[in-house]
Symmetry: C2
Subunit: 397 residues, 2 copies
């Protein structure tokens, strides 16, 4: 596989046999895992040359990877991640930029870039990623894939390199609704809070208002496609604190946690880090206790309010990303601006811990654009089913 890899999606590790069950619900499917997850026989880099050097060869396999192997899926490789998973571009300054299979002149999005690249280039059927601040939803939207960020804590991240543990989640990508559902059944198990056949539909008016007009227009048919199945959505504002407040709340907490995880290594080894990543860790180092405390208060209040808004039966429509993927040739500054804009959309599920599914329902200038559904805690598999159902429905003009 590696000698004929058009996508540079995979880490170039020497291939090692990773046994899977001969039969099971995922038999016949191939999968890859973001190089944050330990797989016995392989190192784990977390996209960092230093972490790779310190890794050694792992002797254990992360339980979530093992779960897929036990279900019969065949492991084909570890995929490139953004450096320490702390970027949304999919450009790793050390390991390269995996190719966006749906728009090869555009960034794949990250940090689960290699996983989205592998699936979008047909190098495997599905792939594990992680989503801390958008790292599944961004590449899913950019590469035209189904992608789930599950309820926080819903899928095990044991033996997986942390970024910001109170935000980190284990998500996945698939090209089609059927595979997306098959994998979801194995990975997510039964919902603690299954959605009704026709959930109550809400539309995050203030989130859509963040988009440029042409992007909103591109998403409009997809919204109608959902309403055709679930009924007219109620308009609602979700960020009554304002998106700026939520954005900083997320960044302060993420920064503090990221520095707690990776700061000691960074202080000790002073690794040269890629554009943006170094700046973000510098920001993280300087987050104050006061900022963290205030952010925790805001987070709790927001969490309660969004949970109350959705209840047990509400599903919120929101844009997955501010736009189609930026071009590979865009400047680092432009990518950073795009990232900050994107974080406004990402922070709703991040701060609330609620599951969000990105569905490949739209496009613009020939590149894909996802639309998202955010549901109550424990409604993950329902959202996955719903995503598949919506994607199958005929598109309304």
């Amino acid at each position: 596989m590696l000698d004929n890899d058009p996508a540079h999606a995979f880490m170039p590790y020497p291939p090692v046999s990773v046994p899977n069950a001969p039969s099971g619900p995922l038999a016949g499917l191939t999968f890859a895992a973001k190089d944050l997850f330990d797989v016995a026989g392989y190192p784990t880099s977390a996209g960092s040359p230093q972490i790779l050097a310190m890794s050694g060869i792992k002797t254990g396999t992360a339980p979530t990877v093992q779960r897929l192997l036990d279900a019969g899926a065949r492991f084909v490789g570890k995929t490139i991640t953004d450096e320490l998973a702390f970027s949304m571009s999919g450009k790793n300054a050390h390991f390269g930029t995996p190719v966006n299979g749906a728009a090869p002149d555009r960034i794949p999005g990250g940090s689960s870039c290699g996983s989205a690249s592998a699936v979008s280039n047909n190098l495997c059927d599905f792939a594990l990623g992680t989503d801390t601040g958008g790292s599944v939803r961004a590449p899913a939207s950019h590469c035209g894939l189904f992608g789930l960020r599950p309820t926080h804590g819903g899928v095990s991240l044991e033996d997986c390199h942390d970024l910001a543990p109170s935000f980190d989640t284990c998500g996945y990508f698939a090209r089609d609704g059927e595979t997306f559902t098959q994998v979801g059944k194995v990975l997510l198990g039964a919902d603690g809070n299954a959605l009704p056949e026709k959930p109550r539909l809400l539309r995050a008016s203030d989130a859509f208002a963040l988009l440029d007009r042409p992007v909103r227009d591109s998403l409009a048919p997809a919204v109608r496609q959902i309403e055709a199945i679930l009924g007219k959505a109620d308009e609602t504002d979700v960020a009554t604190e304002g998106f700026t407040v939520l954005y900083w709340t997320m960044r302060y907490i993420q920064g503090r946690e990221a520095w707690t995880v990776d700061g000691p290594m960074i202080e000790r080894l002073k690794p040269p880090m890629g554009p943006g990543v170094a700046d973000r860790f510098e920001f993280s180092r300087n987050v104050t206790d006061q900022q963290v405390m205030e952010s925790q208060t805001i987070r709790s209040r927001f969490r309660e309010r969004l949970a109350a808004l959705l209840g047990n039966d509400g599903v919120l429509i929101l844009p997955s990303m501010p736009d189609i993927a930026p071009l590979l040739t865009d400047s680092d500054e432009a990518l950073n601006d795009y990232r900050n804009k994107a974080l406004n959309l990402q922070c709703l599920s991040v701060l609330s811990g609620l599951p969000q599914v990105s569905i490949p329902l739209a496009s613009r200038e020939g590149a894909p654009l996802g639309l998202s559904l955010l549901g109550p805690a424990g409604s993950d598999l329902s959202l996955v089913h719903l995503a598949a159902r919506i994607a199958q429905a005929p598109q309304r003009g």
Copy 2:
């Protein structure tokens, strides 16, 4: 060691026990090896995240490393090298810049940067490097160390990542003449062509003429120090073809060989490479057969002429480097210009295959500056002895 490493000289691999003989001529000495050499229990990166990823854990130890272990020296770690050893700055874009122990605000020089850093920061007694186009002599001069580039083929490079095999040599660094000699005896064995007690001294006038006046002035006392021991040097021009011709001869051959070694990996994985390194491989990819053929002819003629000039008893004084180490803050362009200037001096031993020792005899602006002796093939250990003898002699004003 790693948790208290002021020099960032070492690769952050998990420490593995590497057994050495309990006694022997190097008992009590510690050493490090450039991360091009295989050491059982460790990966080998060659300064490249891709080579590191592909490496796996090596099961064998390079014979040259083993020779030192068998002589009782204790291995303390693998040192950072410039990316794929194809740089002279000592700045690795992925693994960082080891600290120059003699001039911490200046580059250590490369590509054996970590080895020179480790020795100059007293983290070990001596260290293995390699020298293809100056990679031992540059950091030796910059970090105030003794450094040997041996006769080509004189010290085994088995289980060592190649750069340009017909130029590659295995050299080493030490802080003092005694250790330099002790290690030389083990590493080099007896000379095939031992120098007389008072070799015939030559001074490469045209090489000194390449230097700026203040640098020449700084080296003058060191030249007199040598002449006080060996007698007045005869002035001679060594590059009758012109340094520019020799420079390109070296670059074309090195480029072709480097592309043969690393090109397939670069074509396949498209690794993001650091400043200068990417350009040099791009240059290497484009070297033509015609350029290589012409260069081989020039090289043969030069080789014969320099060998004839030295005979069995001649020793040539030449500057190790064009100047003290550039500042860490100097631009990539300035470093590249400095490198090209330095290659004019390096190419004499590179093209001829003759051994060269750099002796820490001078300084300028508080930073060290080496002076070199180049001898006949097989006179390596004599040069090492001579270097120690000269360094011990009282300095003449």
